[in-house]
Protein backbone atom coordinates (compact mmCIF):
# COMPACT_ATOMS: atom_id res chain seq x y z
CA UNK A 1 0.00 0.00 0.00
CA UNK A 2 1.03 3.60 -0.49
CA UNK A 3 0.84 5.92 2.52
CA UNK A 4 -0.62 9.40 2.06
CA UNK A 5 2.49 10.85 3.64
CA UNK A 6 5.86 9.08 3.81
CA UNK A 7 7.81 10.47 6.74
CA UNK A 8 11.08 9.56 5.06
CA UNK A 9 10.38 12.06 2.29
CA UNK A 10 9.17 15.02 4.36
CA UNK A 11 11.90 17.60 4.67
CA UNK A 12 10.14 20.28 6.68
CA UNK A 13 8.27 20.20 9.99
CA UNK A 14 4.82 18.73 9.52
CA UNK A 15 1.57 19.90 11.12
CA UNK A 16 -1.55 17.81 10.75
CA UNK A 17 -5.10 17.86 12.08
CA UNK A 18 -7.99 15.44 12.17
CA UNK A 19 -10.97 14.43 14.27
CA UNK A 20 -9.26 11.27 15.51
CA UNK A 21 -5.60 10.30 15.61
CA UNK A 22 -4.79 6.59 15.72
CA UNK A 23 -1.26 5.73 16.84
CA UNK A 24 -0.26 2.40 15.29
CA UNK A 25 -1.48 0.65 12.14
CA UNK A 26 -1.50 -2.98 13.27
CA UNK A 27 -4.63 -5.07 13.77
CA UNK A 28 -5.94 -2.88 16.61
CA UNK A 29 -5.19 0.51 15.08
CA UNK A 30 -6.34 -0.44 11.58
CA UNK A 31 -9.58 -1.95 12.88
CA UNK A 32 -10.40 1.06 15.04
CA UNK A 33 -9.51 3.48 12.25
CA UNK A 34 -11.64 1.67 9.68
CA UNK A 35 -14.64 1.41 12.00
CA UNK A 36 -14.45 5.14 12.71
CA UNK A 37 -14.02 5.97 9.03
CA UNK A 38 -17.06 3.88 8.17
CA UNK A 39 -19.05 6.05 10.53
CA UNK A 40 -17.93 9.16 8.71
CA UNK A 41 -15.18 10.29 11.08
CA UNK A 42 -12.02 11.93 9.80
CA UNK A 43 -9.11 9.75 10.90
CA UNK A 44 -5.34 10.17 10.79
CA UNK A 45 -3.27 7.00 11.22
CA UNK A 46 0.33 7.42 12.37
CA UNK A 47 2.72 4.49 11.93
CA UNK A 48 6.35 4.40 12.98
CA UNK A 49 7.30 1.82 10.35
CA UNK A 50 7.25 2.00 6.59
CA UNK A 51 5.26 0.32 3.85
CA UNK A 52 6.32 -3.33 3.38
CA UNK A 53 8.62 -3.83 0.39
CA UNK A 54 6.79 -4.60 -2.84
CA UNK A 55 7.67 -7.08 -4.20
CA UNK A 56 8.48 -8.82 -0.91
CA UNK A 57 12.13 -9.42 -0.04
CA UNK A 58 13.18 -13.00 -0.93
CA UNK A 59 15.81 -12.95 1.80
CA UNK A 60 14.57 -13.35 5.39
CA UNK A 61 17.41 -11.18 6.61
CA UNK A 62 16.39 -8.23 4.44
CA UNK A 63 12.70 -8.79 5.13
CA UNK A 64 13.27 -8.90 8.89
CA UNK A 65 15.41 -5.79 8.68
CA UNK A 66 12.57 -3.99 6.93
CA UNK A 67 9.61 -5.35 8.87
CA UNK A 68 10.64 -6.41 12.40
CA UNK A 69 11.24 -4.11 15.31
CA UNK A 70 14.96 -4.24 16.04
CA UNK A 71 15.42 -7.13 13.62
CA UNK A 72 13.58 -9.36 16.08
CA UNK A 73 16.29 -8.88 18.71
CA UNK A 74 14.21 -7.04 21.35
CA UNK A 75 14.67 -8.94 24.60
CA UNK A 76 12.69 -9.18 27.85
CA UNK A 77 15.02 -9.71 30.78
CA UNK A 78 14.35 -11.95 33.77
CA UNK A 79 15.24 -15.46 34.83
CA UNK A 80 15.40 -16.37 31.12
CA UNK A 81 16.16 -13.57 28.64
CA UNK A 82 13.53 -13.94 25.94
CA UNK A 83 13.29 -12.22 22.56
CA UNK A 84 9.88 -10.81 21.74
CA UNK A 85 8.86 -10.32 18.14
CA UNK A 86 6.92 -7.32 16.90
CA UNK A 87 6.31 -5.89 13.46
CA UNK A 88 7.30 -2.35 12.60
CA UNK A 89 5.64 -1.57 9.31
CA UNK A 90 2.36 -0.36 7.89
CA UNK A 91 0.08 -3.13 9.06
CA UNK A 92 2.12 -3.80 12.20
CA UNK A 93 2.54 -7.37 13.35
CA UNK A 94 -0.16 -8.58 10.93
CA UNK A 95 2.50 -8.29 8.19
CA UNK A 96 4.83 -10.77 9.88
CA UNK A 97 2.56 -13.20 11.70
CA UNK A 98 1.25 -16.58 10.59
CA UNK A 99 -2.26 -15.16 9.96
CA UNK A 100 -3.63 -17.37 12.74
CA UNK A 101 -7.13 -16.31 13.69
CA UNK A 102 -8.74 -17.60 16.87
CA UNK A 103 -11.94 -16.40 18.46
CA UNK A 104 -11.60 -15.21 22.05
CA UNK A 105 -12.38 -18.34 24.13
CA UNK A 106 -15.59 -17.85 26.10
CA UNK A 107 -13.97 -19.12 29.29
CA UNK A 108 -11.37 -16.36 29.02
CA UNK A 109 -14.07 -13.70 28.73
CA UNK A 110 -15.78 -15.24 31.75
CA UNK A 111 -12.52 -15.00 33.71
CA UNK A 112 -12.43 -11.29 32.90
CA UNK A 113 -16.07 -10.80 33.95
CA UNK A 114 -15.45 -12.65 37.21
CA UNK A 115 -12.70 -10.21 38.13
CA UNK A 116 -14.57 -7.10 36.97
CA UNK A 117 -18.31 -7.55 36.27
CA UNK A 118 -18.47 -4.05 34.71
CA UNK A 119 -16.60 -5.42 31.70
CA UNK A 120 -19.51 -7.64 30.74
CA UNK A 121 -21.77 -4.63 30.16
CA UNK A 122 -19.56 -3.21 27.39
CA UNK A 123 -17.71 -6.33 26.29
CA UNK A 124 -20.45 -8.92 26.47
CA UNK A 125 -19.53 -12.17 24.82
CA UNK A 126 -22.44 -11.68 22.42
CA UNK A 127 -21.02 -8.33 21.32
CA UNK A 128 -17.52 -9.79 20.94
CA UNK A 129 -18.93 -12.65 18.88
CA UNK A 130 -20.91 -10.27 16.65
CA UNK A 131 -17.89 -8.19 15.65
CA UNK A 132 -15.69 -11.28 15.44
CA UNK A 133 -18.03 -12.78 12.85
CA UNK A 134 -17.98 -9.54 10.88
CA UNK A 135 -14.17 -9.52 10.83
CA UNK A 136 -14.00 -13.21 9.90
CA UNK A 137 -16.15 -12.49 6.86
CA UNK A 138 -14.24 -9.36 5.85
CA UNK A 139 -10.83 -11.03 6.10
CA UNK A 140 -11.82 -14.36 4.54
CA UNK A 141 -10.88 -16.23 7.70
CA UNK A 142 -11.16 -19.95 7.03
CA UNK A 143 -9.38 -23.21 7.90
CA UNK A 144 -6.17 -23.93 5.99
CA UNK A 145 -6.96 -25.87 2.83
CA UNK A 146 -5.37 -29.35 2.51
CA UNK A 147 -3.96 -28.48 -0.92
CA UNK A 148 -1.73 -25.75 0.57
CA UNK A 149 -1.05 -27.45 3.92
CA UNK A 150 1.79 -29.65 2.64
CA UNK A 151 3.54 -32.33 4.67
CA UNK A 152 4.58 -30.56 7.86
CA UNK A 153 0.96 -29.62 8.57
CA UNK A 154 -0.55 -32.91 7.42
CA UNK A 155 1.95 -34.84 9.54
CA UNK A 156 0.84 -33.01 12.66
CA UNK A 157 -2.77 -33.86 11.84
CA UNK A 158 -1.78 -37.52 11.49
CA UNK A 159 0.09 -37.55 14.79
CA UNK A 160 -2.69 -35.81 16.73
CA UNK A 161 -5.25 -38.18 15.26
CA UNK A 162 -3.21 -41.16 16.40
CA UNK A 163 -2.96 -39.69 19.90
CA UNK A 164 -6.67 -38.91 19.98
CA UNK A 165 -6.18 -35.27 20.95
CA UNK A 166 -8.07 -32.24 19.68
CA UNK A 167 -6.54 -30.76 16.54
CA UNK A 168 -7.60 -28.88 13.44
CA UNK A 169 -6.39 -26.93 10.42
CA UNK A 170 -5.57 -23.40 11.52
CA UNK A 171 -8.06 -20.72 10.53
CA UNK A 172 -6.20 -17.89 8.80
CA UNK A 173 -6.91 -14.51 7.23
CA UNK A 174 -5.74 -15.35 3.72
CA UNK A 175 -7.21 -15.30 0.23
CA UNK A 176 -5.54 -17.17 -2.60
CA UNK A 177 -2.74 -18.65 -0.46
CA UNK A 178 -0.48 -20.97 -2.46
CA UNK A 179 1.52 -22.18 0.52
CA UNK A 180 4.86 -20.53 -0.14
CA UNK A 181 5.64 -20.78 3.57
CA UNK A 182 6.79 -17.21 3.94
CA UNK A 183 4.10 -15.56 6.07
CA UNK A 184 6.66 -14.46 8.65
CA UNK A 185 8.56 -12.23 6.24
CA UNK A 186 5.57 -10.65 4.52
CA UNK A 187 3.54 -12.72 2.08
CA UNK A 188 5.31 -12.62 -1.32
CA UNK A 189 2.02 -13.16 -3.16
CA UNK A 190 -0.17 -10.70 -1.30
CA UNK A 191 -2.39 -13.55 -0.20
CA UNK A 192 -2.25 -12.78 3.51
CA UNK A 193 -4.89 -10.18 4.29
CA UNK A 194 -2.65 -8.27 6.65
CA UNK A 195 -3.79 -4.76 7.53
CA UNK A 196 -1.73 -3.15 4.75
CA UNK A 197 -3.69 -5.22 2.24
CA UNK A 198 -7.14 -4.99 3.78
CA UNK A 199 -8.33 -2.54 6.41
CA UNK A 200 -5.84 0.27 5.84
CA UNK A 201 -6.52 0.67 2.09
CA UNK A 202 -10.26 0.48 2.79
CA UNK A 203 -9.93 3.18 5.44
CA UNK A 204 -8.00 5.31 2.94
CA UNK A 205 -10.83 4.97 0.43
CA UNK A 206 -13.17 6.30 3.11
CA UNK A 207 -10.99 9.35 3.62
CA UNK A 208 -8.59 8.25 6.36
CA UNK A 209 -5.04 9.52 5.90
CA UNK A 210 -2.09 7.24 6.58
CA UNK A 211 1.34 8.55 7.56
CA UNK A 212 4.28 6.15 7.62
CA UNK A 213 7.67 6.76 9.19
CA UNK A 214 6.10 8.85 11.96
CA UNK A 215 7.20 7.89 15.46
CA UNK A 216 4.98 9.43 18.12
CA UNK A 217 6.96 10.54 21.17
CA UNK A 218 4.40 12.43 23.29
CA UNK A 219 0.68 12.65 23.80
CA UNK A 220 -0.47 16.26 24.06
CA UNK A 221 -2.96 16.71 26.87
CA UNK A 222 -4.25 19.32 29.30
CA UNK A 223 -6.97 19.50 31.93
CA UNK A 224 -9.65 19.13 29.24
CA UNK A 225 -8.12 15.95 27.83
CA UNK A 226 -5.93 14.70 25.00
CA UNK A 227 -5.71 16.97 21.99
CA UNK A 228 -2.89 15.62 19.86
CA UNK A 229 0.53 14.03 19.58
CA UNK A 230 4.00 15.04 18.54
CA UNK A 231 6.99 13.10 17.38
CA UNK A 232 9.70 12.61 14.82
CA UNK A 233 9.59 11.64 11.16
CA UNK A 234 12.06 9.22 9.59
CA UNK A 235 13.55 12.18 7.71
CA UNK A 236 14.54 13.67 11.05
CA UNK A 237 11.90 16.41 10.91
CA UNK A 238 9.43 16.95 13.73
CA UNK A 239 5.69 16.59 13.37
CA UNK A 240 2.67 17.58 15.41
CA UNK A 241 -0.88 16.39 14.90
CA UNK A 242 -4.03 17.78 16.54
CA UNK A 243 -7.16 15.74 17.19
CA UNK A 244 -10.54 17.40 17.72
CA UNK A 245 -12.30 14.34 19.13
CA UNK A 246 -9.72 11.93 20.46
CA UNK A 247 -6.31 10.26 20.47
CA UNK A 248 -6.44 6.48 20.14
CA UNK A 249 -3.41 4.42 21.16
CA UNK A 250 -2.75 1.13 19.39
CA UNK A 251 1.03 0.97 19.64
CA UNK A 252 1.22 -2.52 21.23
CA UNK A 253 1.58 -3.76 24.78
CA UNK A 254 5.13 -2.41 24.74
CA UNK A 255 4.70 0.82 22.77
CA UNK A 256 1.48 2.02 24.37
CA UNK A 257 2.65 2.02 28.01
CA UNK A 258 5.95 3.52 26.90
CA UNK A 259 4.09 6.37 25.24
CA UNK A 260 1.90 6.91 28.30
CA UNK A 261 4.92 6.95 30.59
CA UNK A 262 6.88 9.29 28.33
CA UNK A 263 3.85 11.62 28.28
CA UNK A 264 3.82 11.86 32.07
CA UNK A 265 0.69 9.71 32.40
CA UNK A 266 1.89 7.48 35.19
CA UNK A 267 -1.33 7.09 37.17
CA UNK A 268 -2.63 3.57 37.56
CA UNK A 269 -0.75 0.39 36.75
CA UNK A 270 0.79 1.64 33.49
CA UNK A 271 3.30 -0.91 32.26
CA UNK A 272 2.37 -3.39 35.01
CA UNK A 273 0.66 -6.80 34.59
CA UNK A 274 2.64 -7.49 31.42
CA UNK A 275 1.68 -10.99 30.32
CA UNK A 276 2.55 -13.11 27.31
CA UNK A 277 2.63 -16.49 25.66
CA UNK A 278 6.21 -17.71 25.89
CA UNK A 279 6.92 -20.25 23.22
CA UNK A 280 9.43 -22.99 22.56
CA UNK A 281 10.11 -25.07 19.50
CA UNK A 282 11.34 -28.60 18.83
CA UNK A 283 12.77 -30.23 15.75
CA UNK A 284 12.37 -33.82 14.55
CA UNK A 285 13.79 -35.94 11.76
CA UNK A 286 11.58 -38.03 9.50
CA UNK A 287 12.51 -40.80 7.08
CA UNK A 288 10.48 -39.31 4.27
CA UNK A 289 10.81 -35.72 3.06
CA UNK A 290 8.77 -33.15 4.96
CA UNK A 291 10.10 -30.05 3.21
CA UNK A 292 9.55 -27.66 6.13
CA UNK A 293 10.07 -24.63 3.89
CA UNK A 294 7.01 -25.52 1.83
CA UNK A 295 3.30 -25.31 2.51
CA UNK A 296 1.22 -22.97 4.66
CA UNK A 297 3.55 -21.40 7.21
CA UNK A 298 1.38 -22.38 10.16
CA UNK A 299 -1.44 -24.56 8.94
CA UNK A 300 -2.27 -26.99 11.73
CA UNK A 301 -2.63 -26.86 15.51
CA UNK A 302 -3.37 -29.02 18.54
CA UNK A 303 -5.85 -27.48 20.96
CA UNK A 304 -6.29 -30.59 23.08
CA UNK A 305 -3.88 -29.36 25.76
CA UNK A 306 -5.38 -25.91 26.34
CA UNK A 307 -6.48 -27.05 29.78
CA UNK A 308 -2.80 -27.63 30.52
CA UNK A 309 -2.23 -24.06 29.26
CA UNK A 310 -0.35 -25.45 26.25
CA UNK A 311 -1.15 -24.97 22.58
CA UNK A 312 0.86 -26.74 19.88
CA UNK A 313 1.24 -25.53 16.34
CA UNK A 314 3.29 -26.17 13.24
CA UNK A 315 6.09 -23.67 12.76
CA UNK A 316 7.10 -22.67 9.29
CA UNK A 317 10.13 -20.52 8.71
CA UNK A 318 12.35 -19.20 6.03
CA UNK A 319 15.45 -21.32 5.34
CA UNK A 320 17.72 -19.17 7.51
CA UNK A 321 15.54 -19.58 10.56
CA UNK A 322 15.05 -23.29 9.86
CA UNK A 323 18.81 -23.70 9.87
CA UNK A 324 19.02 -22.13 13.32
CA UNK A 325 16.70 -24.84 14.61
CA UNK A 326 18.54 -27.80 13.13
CA UNK A 327 20.63 -29.78 15.60
CA UNK A 328 24.37 -29.37 15.85
CA UNK A 329 27.10 -26.92 14.98
CA UNK A 330 29.96 -27.03 12.51
CA UNK A 331 30.13 -30.15 10.35
CA UNK A 332 27.11 -31.71 12.06
CA UNK A 333 25.05 -28.64 11.23
CA UNK A 334 26.25 -28.66 7.63
CA UNK A 335 25.35 -32.35 7.26
CA UNK A 336 21.95 -31.73 8.81
CA UNK A 337 21.38 -28.83 6.43
CA UNK A 338 22.00 -31.18 3.53
CA UNK A 339 19.02 -33.25 4.66
CA UNK A 340 16.91 -30.23 5.63
CA UNK A 341 13.96 -31.62 3.69
CA UNK A 342 13.55 -34.36 6.31
CA UNK A 343 13.03 -32.09 9.31
CA UNK A 344 9.87 -30.64 10.81
CA UNK A 345 9.61 -27.95 13.48
CA UNK A 346 6.66 -27.71 15.83
CA UNK A 347 6.13 -25.17 18.57
CA UNK A 348 4.32 -24.80 21.86
CA UNK A 349 2.81 -21.58 23.17
CA UNK A 350 2.26 -21.39 26.92
CA UNK A 351 -0.42 -19.47 28.73
CA UNK A 352 2.07 -18.46 31.39
CA UNK A 353 1.08 -17.24 34.85
CA UNK A 354 4.04 -14.88 35.07
CA UNK A 355 3.50 -11.13 35.12
CA UNK A 356 6.17 -8.68 34.10
CA UNK A 357 6.60 -4.97 33.67
CA UNK A 358 7.36 -2.44 30.94
CA UNK A 359 9.26 0.68 31.94
CA UNK A 360 10.85 3.57 30.15
CA UNK A 361 14.59 3.82 30.32
CA UNK A 362 15.68 6.96 28.55
CA UNK A 363 12.69 6.75 26.26
CA UNK A 364 13.28 3.11 25.34
CA UNK A 365 11.19 0.22 26.59
CA UNK A 366 12.72 -1.98 29.25
CA UNK A 367 10.79 -5.23 29.68
CA UNK A 368 11.20 -7.37 32.80
CA UNK A 369 9.62 -10.79 32.84
CA UNK A 370 10.45 -13.94 34.81
CA UNK A 371 8.77 -17.29 34.38
CA UNK A 372 7.22 -18.81 37.50
CA UNK A 373 8.06 -22.39 38.55
CA UNK A 374 4.64 -23.54 37.37
CA UNK A 375 5.34 -21.97 33.96
CA UNK A 376 8.60 -23.89 33.80
CA UNK A 377 6.66 -27.04 34.62
CA UNK A 378 4.35 -26.20 31.70
CA UNK A 379 7.37 -25.68 29.45
CA UNK A 380 8.76 -29.06 30.45
CA UNK A 381 5.38 -30.68 29.90
CA UNK A 382 5.20 -29.01 26.48
CA UNK A 383 8.53 -30.62 25.55
CA UNK A 384 6.99 -33.98 26.36
CA UNK A 385 3.77 -33.23 24.47
CA UNK A 386 5.74 -32.17 21.41
CA UNK A 387 7.80 -35.35 21.64
CA UNK A 388 4.67 -37.49 21.83
CA UNK A 389 3.21 -35.68 18.86
CA UNK A 390 6.35 -36.06 16.76
CA UNK A 391 6.64 -39.80 17.39
CA UNK A 392 2.95 -40.29 16.69
CA UNK A 393 3.49 -38.38 13.45
CA UNK A 394 6.20 -40.85 12.46
CA UNK A 395 9.40 -39.05 13.46
CA UNK A 396 12.57 -41.15 13.64
CA UNK A 397 14.48 -38.78 15.93
CA UNK A 398 13.36 -35.93 18.16
CA UNK A 399 15.69 -33.19 19.39
CA UNK A 400 14.51 -31.65 22.68
CA UNK A 401 17.13 -28.91 22.61
CA UNK A 402 17.55 -28.86 26.40
CA UNK A 403 21.19 -28.56 27.52
CA UNK A 404 22.25 -31.31 29.89
CA UNK A 405 19.45 -33.57 28.69
CA UNK A 406 19.66 -36.23 25.97
CA UNK A 407 20.29 -34.43 22.71
CA UNK A 408 18.28 -36.94 20.71
CA UNK A 409 15.32 -39.18 21.55
CA UNK A 410 14.61 -42.22 19.39
CA UNK A 411 11.54 -43.76 20.99
CA UNK A 412 8.41 -42.84 22.90
CA UNK A 413 9.74 -44.74 25.90
CA UNK A 414 12.52 -42.19 26.28
CA UNK A 415 10.00 -39.39 26.73
CA UNK A 416 9.36 -40.43 30.31
CA UNK A 417 12.87 -39.19 31.13
CA UNK A 418 11.80 -35.60 30.43
CA UNK A 419 10.09 -35.05 33.79
CA UNK A 420 12.75 -37.08 35.58
CA UNK A 421 15.86 -35.52 34.14
CA UNK A 422 15.05 -31.92 33.15
CA UNK A 423 15.22 -29.60 36.17
CA UNK A 424 12.86 -26.63 36.44
CA UNK A 425 15.65 -24.19 35.73
CA UNK A 426 14.63 -21.36 33.40
CA UNK A 427 18.02 -21.17 31.71
CA UNK A 428 17.69 -24.75 30.51
CA UNK A 429 15.04 -23.61 28.05
CA UNK A 430 15.26 -21.55 24.88
CA UNK A 431 12.10 -19.53 24.50
CA UNK A 432 10.70 -16.44 22.83
CA UNK A 433 7.48 -14.45 23.11
CA UNK A 434 5.07 -13.33 20.43
CA UNK A 435 1.77 -12.40 22.10
CA UNK A 436 1.96 -9.53 24.59
CA UNK A 437 -0.80 -8.16 26.80
CA UNK A 438 -1.94 -6.23 29.82
CA UNK A 439 0.18 -3.11 30.30
CA UNK A 440 -2.72 -0.61 30.18
CA UNK A 441 -5.50 -2.78 31.52
CA UNK A 442 -9.17 -2.14 31.06
CA UNK A 443 -11.33 -2.03 34.19
CA UNK A 444 -13.70 -0.06 36.36
CA UNK A 445 -11.24 0.56 39.21
CA UNK A 446 -8.83 3.39 38.40
CA UNK A 447 -6.32 2.03 40.91
CA UNK A 448 -6.16 -1.37 39.23
CA UNK A 449 -6.60 -0.37 35.60
CA UNK A 450 -5.54 2.34 33.16
CA UNK A 451 -8.60 2.66 30.93
CA UNK A 452 -12.31 2.44 31.71
CA UNK A 453 -14.57 -0.28 30.31
CA UNK A 454 -15.22 2.20 27.49
CA UNK A 455 -11.47 2.17 26.66
CA UNK A 456 -11.01 5.80 27.79
CA UNK A 457 -8.13 6.74 30.06
CA UNK A 458 -9.36 7.04 33.64
CA UNK A 459 -7.85 10.50 34.08
CA UNK A 460 -7.45 11.95 30.59
CA UNK A 461 -10.66 12.46 28.63
CA UNK A 462 -10.52 11.76 24.89
CA UNK A 463 -7.48 9.49 25.28
CA UNK A 464 -8.26 5.90 24.38
CA UNK A 465 -6.30 2.63 24.35
CA UNK A 466 -7.59 -0.10 22.02
CA UNK A 467 -4.74 -2.62 21.60
CA UNK A 468 -3.72 -5.73 23.55
CA UNK A 469 -2.47 -3.51 26.36
CA UNK A 470 -6.05 -3.41 27.61
CA UNK A 471 -6.41 -7.20 27.90
CA UNK A 472 -6.71 -8.06 31.60
CA UNK A 473 -4.57 -11.17 31.07
CA UNK A 474 -3.18 -13.45 28.39
CA UNK A 475 -5.72 -15.61 26.59
CA UNK A 476 -3.97 -18.86 25.73
CA UNK A 477 -4.64 -18.62 21.98
CA UNK A 478 -3.39 -16.47 19.11
CA UNK A 479 -4.76 -13.00 19.81
CA UNK A 480 -4.98 -11.21 16.45
CA UNK A 481 -8.72 -11.70 16.01
CA UNK A 482 -9.66 -10.93 19.66
CA UNK A 483 -7.49 -7.80 19.46
CA UNK A 484 -9.41 -6.70 16.38
CA UNK A 485 -12.75 -7.56 17.97
CA UNK A 486 -12.05 -5.45 21.05
CA UNK A 487 -10.74 -2.60 18.91
CA UNK A 488 -13.94 -2.75 16.85
CA UNK A 489 -16.08 -2.54 19.97
CA UNK A 490 -13.93 0.27 21.31
CA UNK A 491 -14.39 2.21 18.07
CA UNK A 492 -18.16 1.73 18.20
CA UNK A 493 -18.18 3.25 21.67
CA UNK A 494 -15.82 6.09 20.73
CA UNK A 495 -17.88 6.98 17.65
CA UNK A 496 -20.97 7.06 19.87
Amino acid sequence: MIPDIDGRNEHAPLRLASEFIVVGSGPAGATAALRLARRGARVLILEEGEAPPDPAEPSALRAMSALYRELGTSVAFGNLPMPYLQGRALGGTSVINGAISWRLPKRVAEEWYAVDPALEEVLSYEAITRVTEEIEKELSIAPTRPDVAHKKNLRMAKGAERLGIGHRPIARNVSGCIGSGRCLQGCPHGAKLSMDRSYLPEAQKLGARVVSGAKVARILHDSRGAYGVRGMLLSGERFEARAAHGVILAASAIGTPLLLLESGLRAGPVGEYFSAHPGLSMTALFDEPIEPQRGATQGHEVYGFLEERIKLEVLGFDLGLILSRLPGHGRTLAENLRRLDHYAIYGAALRAHAKGRVRSRGGRAEVRYSLEPRDLASARRAVRRLGELFFAAGAREVYPGIPGFRSVLRSEEELSAIEREIPLDAKRFTMSMTHLFGTARIGSDAEKSVVSPRFEHHRVPRLFVVDSSVFPDNIGVNPQLPIMALAALAAEGIAG
Binding site: L61, R62, M64, S65, L71, H329, A334
Partner: protein, 132 residues
Protein backbone atom coordinates in the same frame (compact mmCIF):
# COMPACT_ATOMS: atom_id res chain seq x y z
CA UNK B 1 28.60 2.58 19.77
CA UNK B 2 26.41 2.01 16.73
CA UNK B 3 29.03 0.34 14.54
CA UNK B 4 30.81 -2.96 14.81
CA UNK B 5 34.56 -2.51 14.59
CA UNK B 6 36.29 -4.02 11.51
CA UNK B 7 37.91 -6.68 13.69
CA UNK B 8 34.49 -7.55 15.17
CA UNK B 9 33.08 -7.97 11.67
CA UNK B 10 36.05 -10.11 10.73
CA UNK B 11 35.63 -12.24 13.85
CA UNK B 12 31.92 -12.72 13.24
CA UNK B 13 32.66 -13.86 9.69
CA UNK B 14 35.09 -16.43 11.06
CA UNK B 15 32.48 -17.64 13.55
CA UNK B 16 29.78 -17.96 10.89
CA UNK B 17 32.16 -19.73 8.53
CA UNK B 18 33.07 -22.27 11.23
CA UNK B 19 29.47 -22.63 12.34
CA UNK B 20 28.49 -23.85 8.90
CA UNK B 21 31.31 -25.38 6.82
CA UNK B 22 28.72 -25.91 4.12
CA UNK B 23 31.08 -27.01 1.36
CA UNK B 24 32.04 -30.06 3.46
CA UNK B 25 28.45 -31.22 2.99
CA UNK B 26 28.47 -30.46 -0.72
CA UNK B 27 26.56 -27.19 -0.35
CA UNK B 28 27.53 -23.73 -1.60
CA UNK B 29 30.28 -22.23 0.53
CA UNK B 30 29.85 -19.16 2.73
CA UNK B 31 31.32 -16.36 0.66
CA UNK B 32 30.39 -13.26 2.59
CA UNK B 33 32.80 -10.47 3.31
CA UNK B 34 32.93 -7.57 5.75
CA UNK B 35 30.49 -5.58 3.61
CA UNK B 36 27.78 -8.25 3.92
CA UNK B 37 24.24 -7.03 4.49
CA UNK B 38 24.11 -8.83 7.85
CA UNK B 39 26.36 -6.19 9.38
CA UNK B 40 24.37 -3.32 7.97
CA UNK B 41 21.17 -4.93 9.29
CA UNK B 42 22.64 -5.45 12.73
CA UNK B 43 23.95 -1.90 12.99
CA UNK B 44 20.90 -0.19 11.52
CA UNK B 45 18.06 -2.22 12.98
CA UNK B 46 19.06 -3.39 16.44
CA UNK B 47 19.39 -1.44 19.67
CA UNK B 48 22.63 -0.17 21.15
CA UNK B 49 22.17 -2.56 24.07
CA UNK B 50 21.81 -5.49 21.69
CA UNK B 51 25.01 -4.54 19.91
CA UNK B 52 26.74 -4.40 23.28
CA UNK B 53 25.46 -7.89 24.01
CA UNK B 54 26.62 -9.07 20.61
CA UNK B 55 30.10 -7.72 21.29
CA UNK B 56 30.15 -9.61 24.60
CA UNK B 57 29.11 -12.80 22.81
CA UNK B 58 31.83 -12.37 20.21
CA UNK B 59 34.37 -11.72 22.94
CA UNK B 60 33.24 -14.88 24.72
CA UNK B 61 33.80 -16.97 21.62
CA UNK B 62 37.09 -15.22 20.84
CA UNK B 63 38.63 -15.77 24.28
CA UNK B 64 37.18 -19.08 25.48
CA UNK B 65 39.62 -21.21 23.44
CA UNK B 66 42.52 -19.58 25.29
CA UNK B 67 41.63 -21.48 28.44
CA UNK B 68 40.67 -24.75 26.75
CA UNK B 69 43.04 -27.65 26.49
CA UNK B 70 43.85 -28.42 22.88
CA UNK B 71 43.44 -24.82 21.74
CA UNK B 72 45.28 -22.30 23.98
CA UNK B 73 44.82 -19.47 21.51
CA UNK B 74 42.22 -16.95 20.52
CA UNK B 75 39.47 -18.22 18.25
CA UNK B 76 40.62 -15.94 15.43
CA UNK B 77 44.16 -17.34 15.66
CA UNK B 78 43.07 -20.98 15.30
CA UNK B 79 43.14 -22.72 11.94
CA UNK B 80 39.78 -23.41 10.35
CA UNK B 81 39.58 -27.06 11.38
CA UNK B 82 40.17 -26.11 15.00
CA UNK B 83 37.62 -23.29 14.82
CA UNK B 84 35.02 -25.74 13.55
CA UNK B 85 35.93 -28.29 16.22
CA UNK B 86 35.82 -25.66 18.94
CA UNK B 87 32.29 -24.59 18.03
CA UNK B 88 31.20 -28.23 17.87
CA UNK B 89 32.51 -28.74 21.40
CA UNK B 90 31.04 -25.48 22.64
CA UNK B 91 27.67 -26.71 21.43
CA UNK B 92 27.79 -29.33 24.19
CA UNK B 93 28.18 -26.71 26.90
CA UNK B 94 25.57 -26.52 29.63
CA UNK B 95 26.73 -23.05 30.66
CA UNK B 96 24.25 -20.38 29.70
CA UNK B 97 26.43 -17.58 28.33
CA UNK B 98 28.60 -19.66 25.98
CA UNK B 99 25.56 -21.61 24.81
CA UNK B 100 23.49 -18.48 24.25
CA UNK B 101 26.38 -16.83 22.42
CA UNK B 102 26.64 -19.84 20.16
CA UNK B 103 22.91 -20.02 19.48
CA UNK B 104 22.74 -16.33 18.65
CA UNK B 105 25.60 -16.75 16.19
CA UNK B 106 23.84 -19.78 14.73
CA UNK B 107 20.74 -17.66 14.10
CA UNK B 108 22.71 -14.97 12.30
CA UNK B 109 24.66 -17.62 10.42
CA UNK B 110 21.42 -18.99 8.99
CA UNK B 111 20.14 -15.56 8.02
CA UNK B 112 23.45 -14.54 6.47
CA UNK B 113 24.01 -17.82 4.64
CA UNK B 114 20.61 -17.82 3.01
CA UNK B 115 20.98 -14.20 2.02
CA UNK B 116 23.30 -15.72 -0.60
CA UNK B 117 21.22 -16.45 -3.68
CA UNK B 118 23.28 -19.53 -4.54
CA UNK B 119 22.59 -20.97 -1.09
CA UNK B 120 18.83 -20.51 -1.39
CA UNK B 121 18.38 -21.94 -4.85
CA UNK B 122 18.75 -25.67 -4.07
CA UNK B 123 16.00 -25.47 -1.46
CA UNK B 124 13.37 -23.10 -2.79
CA UNK B 125 10.27 -23.98 -4.69
CA UNK B 126 6.73 -22.89 -3.99
CA UNK B 127 4.17 -25.45 -2.92
CA UNK B 128 2.75 -25.32 -6.41
CA UNK B 129 6.12 -25.94 -7.98
CA UNK B 130 7.08 -22.45 -9.12
CA UNK B 131 10.13 -20.53 -8.08
CA UNK B 132 9.55 -18.75 -4.80
Amino acid sequence: MRKLRPRERALMLLVMDAMLPAEEAGLPRFHLDENAIIFDALERSTSVSFLMGLRAMLATIEHLPRIRAGYRARFSKLDRQKRVRFLEELGQSERYLPRQSLETMKLFTGLAYFDQTDAREPFLKDALGGAA
